[in-house]
Amino acid sequence: MTSLPRQTDKKLGLAIDLDTCVGCHACVISCKEWNTSNYGVPLSDVEPYGANPVGSFLNRVHTFEAKLEERPAQIIHFPKSCLHCEDAPCVTVCPTGASYKRTEDGIVLVNEDWCIGCGLCAWACPYGAREMDEVAGVMKKCTLCVDRIYNENIPEEDREPACVRSCPAGARHFGDFADPTSSVSKLTKERGGIDLMPEQGTKPVNKYLPPRLKNDIAQENFDVLRPLLEEHDKNISGFLSWVDKTLEKF
């Protein structure tokens, strides 16, 4: 059913820390790896070794540059996957009922046996979080690793989305946003987590933790080598010390 639940019991989602992400794309690869062999049809590639390889991915990392006047430019790596919106426009436009939002945990999923591959849901998503699989002709999207997080056949520490599990920087956090005491809720509160494109009215569950303004080394007259050199200067003796002192006299 493509009517959205009025409320979901849990609001599972991700808090993505833009201050910490180093742009290594590990989450992109582990997402592809897990999801090509689990929920639904494989994530196909077309011409993977040809001149123009294309393929479906559920998570992609963009890189932006931000520049304030009189300050050096700052690089922000920006991972993006489905935000499991509360008011998900991708669900309501679906003509077949293949797209739905789960009442129990708020995860937005596609039932691939019903999907006709019309692509309308991908048009309706402002974030580019859905990609049509060119080989199977059905819509693919982030499942929040629904087949990991409840999976009792895998060790407990693996029961979180593959992207979260693989992030070497710890930039991705998984949890329940409906619970104000959860780690993701607290993080979001402390760090002033934000919604992407709030004006689109989608009420995304995933939150982005904004990066700090980087230090401006030039303006703060900050010399990385200074402390080391000072240390070095003190230890100078003998001939070099004599040269140093003599030269200073001129």
Partner: protein, 291 residues
């Protein structure tokens, strides 16, 4: 957005077919018997042909029947249901005219109304998209409906309604372009809201997530022909407005020229519908350094 031929054919053909049905339904002094048959044949071929063409856009057309189930929330689903109801109503009404039965004017009226609502729902598939500010505009359904009614009137050889329809639809098309050109700017979405990084200063995409293309870029970040937009708009205005008006007026003395008016209007519609898709900017473009 990517201007897929199947979708352009779907919206233009089915629009014309339903426009013709609307004309036939509202006609106060309808044709009967064999005279009405060709018109219904044209109307059904256009509308059914258009609907079938839309199936070519699907990844799994064999399940298309499922698309009739979600009419409560989905305009695409509503369009499917309404199209079927409209076809059925018009089939009944057409039969009653063909057999010159004691036909019911009310049935004709209802068939016509349903034809118009179907075109409206086709337009709403696009006009509902908040993510495409150029489409998210009340002018879009008006334009779709006017074009289909004008087309129906010209096919019927109705000089007066044809002329009014051509002029009105061309004017509304102009208005939709003018409004559309400001839509993305006027929408509050931009690279700052899409990344939430506005306090860090001026933003630009430094590296895209991958070196090649992807589905999103091919489908929604379509920019190939934007540089020809102006020329195509002029062409579209000529074929949609100027040439049909000339032929319609000439047809008062040389009757068959109304056929040329129809052909021209049809090409005008194809160009304008191509532009409707090709020009439309999706807000996801902000994540790909275009917008």
């Amino acid at each position: 957005m990517h201007p897929a031929p199947s979708i352009i054919i779907f919206t233009v053909f089915s629009g014309l077919g339903f426009g013709l049905m609307a004309y036939l339904g509202f006609d106060t002094d309808p044709l009967r018997g064999w005279n009405v048959l060709p018109y219904y044949l044209i109307a059904f071929s256009l509308s059914i042909g258009g609907l079938l063409s839309s199936l070519f856009h699907l990844g799994n057309p064999q399940r298309a029947w499922r698309a009739l189930s979600q009419w409560r929330t989905s305009w695409l689903s509503r369009e499917g249901v309404l199209a079927i109801v409209t076809l059925a109503l018009n089939f009944l009404f057409g039969l009653s005219l063909f057999f010159s039965l004691d036909y019911s004017k009310n049935l004709g009226f209802v068939s016509g109304i349903f034809a118009i609502i179907t075109v409206f729902s086709t337009a709403m598939i696009y006009a509902q998209m908040k993510t495409v500010p150029r489409w998210n505009n009340s002018g879009v359904p008006i334009l779709f409906i006017l074009c289909s009614l004008a087309g129906g009137a010209i096919i019927m050889g109705d000089f007066k309604l044809g002329l009014i329809g051509v002029i009105l639809s061309t004017l509304i098309q102009l208005l939709v372009w003018v409004r559309g050109d400001k839509a993305l700017k006027n929408s509050s979405t931009n690279i700052s809201t899409s990344t939430g990084l506005k306090n860090l200063g001026k933003l630009r995409l430094l590296e895209s997530p991958h070196t090649g293309e992807n589905y999103l870029m091919k489908e929604m970040v379509f920019v190939i022909a934007r540089k020809h937009v102006f020329k195509l708009r002029i062409l579209s205005l000529c074929f949609l407005g100027v040439i049909p008006v000339i032929f319609l007026i000439l047809s008062l003395s040389v009757g068959f020229l109304i056929g040329l008016a129809m052909i021209s209007y049809f090409f005008g519609l194809l160009i304008s519908r191509w532009l409707f898709f090709a020009e439309a900017e999706h807000v996801v473009s902000f994540y790909y350094g275009r917008g």
